[in-house]
């Protein structure tokens, strides 16, 4: 599957949600779609899923526009943070509808996952707790086997052990049935190791799109005596720095650095990297 957007823009009234987003996702990969609140992630995913049309620019899924094309939408399963299912339906009705809609639906898998998450077939959607609703979303997303499976913060109300269970099941599903997963999340530390690629949106634009291996290559955490660190990071792209008691730590992005004595060079986690790349400076009073 291939998703390609060019100068994608979406405005809601005077508010701009997406501004000039050009991005290409292809292949059977687990992709992390990251960024702060309001960066445009959900808007992008909703246009991709055909929920509404862009204001301008183009988006194509395997060369076809996703809006009003059932050929495209049956290949995409989009599980949102909430409101995925109609409240008056029972769980077994939700699954029956999904089975009709998704050509690759795996009924056995859905049955199995119901047991894993301890959901009962006859329960009505509106009677489910937040955690149970999230579990139902996860079940539909995984059992859909849709060539593009999208999860937008799918774990509201799920406790830490059930989230870990979700990551295990996601990996299992990916291994059994390799396909494109797009995951939007704020709990980056929990799941970052599952990503093969990461795209970071910022203010409606693409800030970067790299493999996680490239991201690890492209940043450095340097620490040591303040004077040594200051010398090493002069004229470099420093995205974060902090010092205390004569020691300094700095994070560099897109820079190479020769190792010198007294300078320790290592890596930081994806979550911190995303924070440093997208954080606004706090104006001092």
């Amino acid at each position: 599957m291939k998703i390609e957007t060019k100068q994608l823009r979406k405005t809601f009234g005077k508010e701009s949600a997406l501004e000039d987003l050009s991005i290409t996702f292809s292949g059977e990969k687990i992709i992390g779609l990251l960024g702060k609140n309001g960066a445009g992630k959900t808007t992008f995913m909703r246009i991709l899923s055909g929920h509404f049309q862009q204001t301008s620019g183009t988006i194509a899924v395997n060369e076809q526009s996703p809006f009003n094309h059932s050929d495209v939408s049956k290949n995409i399963c989009f599980i949102q943070e909430s409101n995925n299912f109609y409240g008056k339906f029972r769980i077994d009705e939700v699954l029956q509808i999904a089975e009709v809609f998704y050509p690759n639906w795996d009924k056995d898998q859905a049955e199995h996952l119901l047991k894993v998450f301890k959901l009962k077939r006859k329960q009505k959607v509106k009677a489910l707790s937040k955690g149970m609703l999230s579990a139902l979303g996860i079940i539909v997303g995984l059992a859909s086997n849709a060539p593009i499976t999208i999860f937008d913060e799918p774990y509201i109300g799920l406790d830490a052990s059930n989230r870990s269970l979700f990551y295990d099941l996601l990996l299992q599903s990916y291994q059994d049935n390799p396909r494109m997963f797009i995951l939007s999340t704020h709990l980056i530390d929990e799941i970052s190791k599952l990503f093969e690629e990461v795209a970071i949106l910022h203010e409606g634009k693409l800030l970067l799109h790299e493999t996680t291996a490239e991201l690890a290559e492209n940043h450095l955490l340097v620490s040591g005596e303040t004077s040594v660190v200051d010398q090493a990071i002069k004229n470099k792209n420093v995205i974060h720095q902090t010092s205390m008691l004569g020691k300094k730590k700095a994070v560099l992005f897109g820079e190479q650095l020769a190792t010198t004595d007294g300078l320790e060079v290592s890596k930081i986690g994806l979550q911190d990297l995303v924070i440093y790349l997208t954080k606004e400076e706090v104006d001092s009073l």
Binding site: I30, Y167, K193, T212, I268
Partner: protein, 124 residues
């Protein structure tokens, strides 16, 4: 496999090092099959591509080889290669920080060498 992955180094390197340590300690013998990328992925909750990258690093160094359609295996010379590699960086990785801390806490040369001798004796 109770070790945890850390954030301060690339994951694929940590996977490669874990396999190396298993070979050096004898948990993996020569000509023995190593776990698959999927098994590594599941165990560490990591992307299979990352696990594959770690394993391929060892393939490039002649520590692991691929039997087509079967899996990945430890080469005959794996242990020798790893030991040489680890000896080469022993000074930088272990001796240097040891000496730095010794200096910091004003340890005498006599005390330091005595401890090392004692430690070596106890290991016998």
């Amino acid at each position: 496999m109770t070790d945890r992955l850390r954030d301060d180094r690339p994951i694929f390197q940590q996977i490669a090092e874990f396999i190396e340590t298993s070979i050096v300690s004898g948990d993996l013998e020569k000509e023995e099959q190593i776990p698959s990328t999927n098994e590594f992925a599941k165990h560490y909750q990591i992307n299979p591509a990352t696990a594959a990258k770690g394993i391929n690093l060892l393939v490039d160094q002649g520590i692991i080889y691929k039997k087509r359609g079967v899996g990945m295996f430890v080469t005959g010379s794996a242990k020798t290669i790893i030991l040489q590699k680890r000896k080469d960086r022993f000074y930088d990785q272990y001796v240097k920080p040891l000496l730095q801390e010794a200096q910091r806490i004003e340890l005498t040369e006599t005390q330091l060498t005595n401890w090392i001798k004692e430690g070596l004796k106890n290991e016998d």
